[in-house]
């Protein structure tokens, strides 16, 4: 029986696993979280009595539908929650749970590894109370807690509005939303965002609901620093006319969109291609998600697109894997319409990249004293000094070896996007950013996992 290994139990992984199990594959579904859902459909912890209708409002229906499907599927496959796939290559994957490490063979590997926040480092971003924007949502859904009693939501991301609204619905005090993208960028993005009018309207509804609640929204100002001694006490912003203001708060949700968790795709031998719209390296797949023979990437882990795009790309990748395994006929009546829908969603996503652009010019504007690498406390100045040495400039991996920037426990997940821009800027203003190479294990393992059970 053909063995399919699906990594990740969010919308993409559940969709892919569903197609594969219906086609007759022997499916193992491995997920880092204790329950299916990924981040978008994260379930409250056992015992948490949180009013999901109040929190999710209209999105409750999609949440419930997902979980009904996911629960049934997890019964039908070899489902392994709270387990990390820390490397995979040439038909063998390496898994670690709390204290055990096992290897697992596969005939098809479907990577649905999701995404994490992309964040632009700024002075004070390591202060307690400054959290990633996605994390602020995850904590509320999963643990029923707000990150603080008065919160500033800032950065450049459509999630700013949704997260702030969810906080407001649950009784949070939203001090302000600082949307670094100017309003003109949103107007410029309209033609592409019109490809998904429903999603566009939903975003506008969030903005209106926040305005009705009297939440202050500032467009086009940038975050200059997070202030405070032992914990965050304010967000200093600079408006485009140069005026500054510090907004008092005890917590900050900060993010610049999402970036794929593409480490396993790279370790499995897949190619990565630079995408100039989002300024990230993304797994290079065909339309169906084929990364290399027998290996597929889908969902936000392949290209950030949200839950609906993730589900569709998961179905496409699952079907491609089933076809390649000889479990489904080559001709597939539903494929073309799924691919068309995915194309529209991708176009919308490119619109979002224009509406909420990644702050790339900060490479030249950041002060030398700003911590770039949170893990190793490497500053922007240390990276610039390395670049100015005769042997330095050029490859980001050499600068990493020289400075330890990106060498800490997170393996460059959070400093990486800014780090590569700073290195690229040294090579000229239009230089294309490089990328940090991934290393196994993709996350630190408990020591006990290295030994046999």
């Amino acid at each position: 029986m053909a063995r399919a290994l699906v990594v990740g139990a969010g919308p993409a992984g559940i969709a892919a696993a569903g197609v594969l199990v219906r086609a007759g594959a022997d499916v193992t579904l491995v997920d880092e979280n204790p329950r299916p859902g990924g981040q978008i459909h994260r379930r409250p912890a056992d015992g948490l009595r949180i009013d999901m209708r109040r929190l999710l409002s209209r999105s409750l229906e999609a949440y419930d539908a997902f979980h009904a499907k996911a629960d049934a599927l997890c019964e039908a496959v070899d489902y392994r929650p709270s387990t990390l796939v820390w490397s995979a290559r040439d038909g063998e994957a390496h898994l670690a749970s709390d204290s055990r490490s096992v290897s697992l063979g596969y005939d098809a590997l479907v990577l649905a590894t999701g995404a994490v926040d992309r964040v632009a480092p700024v002075a004070g971003w390591t202060l307690p109370g400054v959290f990633s924007l996605g994390g602020a949502q995850v904590l509320l859904k999963g643990q029923g807690c707000l990150i603080g009693s008065r919160t500033v939501f800032c950065g450049a991301s459509p999630l700013l509005y949704l997260a702030a609204l969810q906080y407001a619905r649950m009784g949070g005090d939203v001090a302000a939303i600082i949307d670094e993208a100017p309003f003109s960028a949103k107007i410029r993005a309209l033609p592409q965002m019109a490809s998904e009018p429903g999603t566009l309207l939903e975003g506008l509804r969030y903005m209106r609901a926040l305005a009705r609640r009297g939440v202050r929204i500032v467009h086009g100002a940038s975050v200059a620093s997070f202030t405070g001694e032992d914990r965050v006490e304010g967000v200093e912003i600079v408006r485009r006319d140069g005026t500054r203001e510090t907004i008092a708060c005890d917590s900050v949700a900060y993010g610049h969109g999402l970036k794929p968790e593409s480490q396993l795709a790279e370790l499995a031998g897949g190619g990565l291609r630079y995408d100039p719209d989002v300024r990230l390296h993304l797994p290079e797949t065909d339309e169906d998600g084929r990364l290399l023979p027998g290996v597929y990437a889908c969902g936000d882990g392949a290209m950030v697109g949200g839950a609906v795009a993730a589900e569709i790309s998961g179905r496409l990748a699952g079907a491609a894997a089933a076809r390649d395994l000889g479990l489904l006929p080559d001709a597939d009546a539903g494929r073309a319409s799924l691919a068309r829908r995915l194309g529209r969603l991708r176009r919308f996503q490119r619109g979002l990249a224009i509406a909420f652009p990644w702050r790339r010019h900060f490479a030249s504007s950041l002060d030398n004293g700003v911590i770039l690498c949170r893990c190793e406390n490497v500053t922007v100045g240390e990276v610039r000094a390395s670049l100015s040495r005769p042997f330095g400039a050029g490859d980001v991996n050499r600068v990493k070896a020289d400075t330890r920037c990106g060498m800490g426990r997170c393996q460059g997940r959070f400093c990486g996007p800014a780090f590569v821009e700073i290195v690229a800027a040294a090579g000229g203003s239009d230089a294309r950013p490089g990328r940090l190479r991934s290393q196994p294990p993709v996350k630190p393992l408990p020591v006990a996992a290295g030994s046999a059970p």
């Binding site: 912890a45 015992g47 948490l48 390591t126 307690p128 994390g135 643990q143 807690c145």
Partner: protein, 101 residues
């Protein structure tokens, strides 16, 4: 400013547990993560290895590794993805090995 960082807005209907943070007994509930327990009882989870500055985690989803603490004398890992268990002795990195806490 409040002493604690996080604000619970929904109750846990789960068994009460006791654990300690740097030796101080605190109440917790099954289903909470170590990070939730620490940040509903304080405003940081660890001191940074390099400069001793306080950190309270960042990504809250197991990716940034900025919330590593000791759970008992011999185990260490992410506070944000580790469920609290009864009797757990949570130690911020600073006080491990006789630091200044």
């Amino acid at each position: 400013m409040r002493n604690e960082m996080l604000v619970p807005v929904a109750p846990f209907d789960a068994p009460l547990l006791t654990c300690t943070i740097d030796g101080r007994p605190v109440e917790a509930q099954a289903g909470q993560t170590v990070l939730t327990v620490m940040l509903t009882n304080g405003a940081f989870v660890r001191r940074h290895d390099v400069d001793g500055e306080k950190r309270a985690g960042f990504c809250l989803m197991g990716a940034c590794q900025d919330c590593w603490v000791w759970f008992s004398p011999d185990r260490r890992g992410r506070a944000c993805t580790t469920p609290v268990v009864d009797g757990m002795r949570i130690v911020t990195s600073a006080s491990y090995g006789g630091g200044d806490g």
